[in-house]
Amino acid sequence: AQTVTQSQPEMSVQEAETVTLSCTYDTSESDYYLFWYKQPPSRQMILVIRQEAYKQQNATENRFSVNFQKAAKSFSLKISDSQLGDAAMYFCAYRSACSGNTPLVFGKGTRLSVIA
């Protein structure tokens, strides 16, 4: 079974600075997808960014980018120019690509605080 580990329960960053959230995963599969979800106090789960394992190029979405290291099974999220609205729980998630739309496997999350 696949597992996802987020080793940082809490992180903080100054407004306008850059922060990196760590995520590692364990799998024997070669084809899969990785996601970062944001969960603000409203409890909604909001997709931040997605990475296909077969792509070597790191995904980027505006101020959000990932560092995907397939051999190391690492998938960190970098948030640039941090804003107060970035404060939330961030979850790393894994999904197998072996058959259809398989369920997500989540890490325990990292709570990000943004300091004004």
Binding site: Q6, Y33, A97, G100, P103, G109
Partner: protein
Amino acid sequence: NAGVTQTPKFRILKIGQSMTLQCTQDMNHNYMYWYRQDPGMGLKLIYYSVGAGITDKGEVPNGYNVSRSTTEDFPLRLELAAPSQTSVYFCASSSAGVEGQPQHFGDGTRLSIL
């Protein structure tokens, strides 16, 4: 643009009571999921469905039942509520046939069993 709608948003149950958490989506997604999120933890899969009439167990199915009679609806039933089922419950959906499509989540139902 309703997306995934969960009702109720909050509920308090007594031990042994039963209830159904409702989930409906208007995106014509074949795949639907139920997760629970305990304090300080990530989401754990309870049940999922790949289409009407088809359901399967996830990581933590004990104490729950589901049904999928239509594409739109995926209710989660608790038959005999226990304190261990106090949690926030999320329903999600995703499209089939398109690889890597993300799951769309509802706003969650906060359930307390006292």
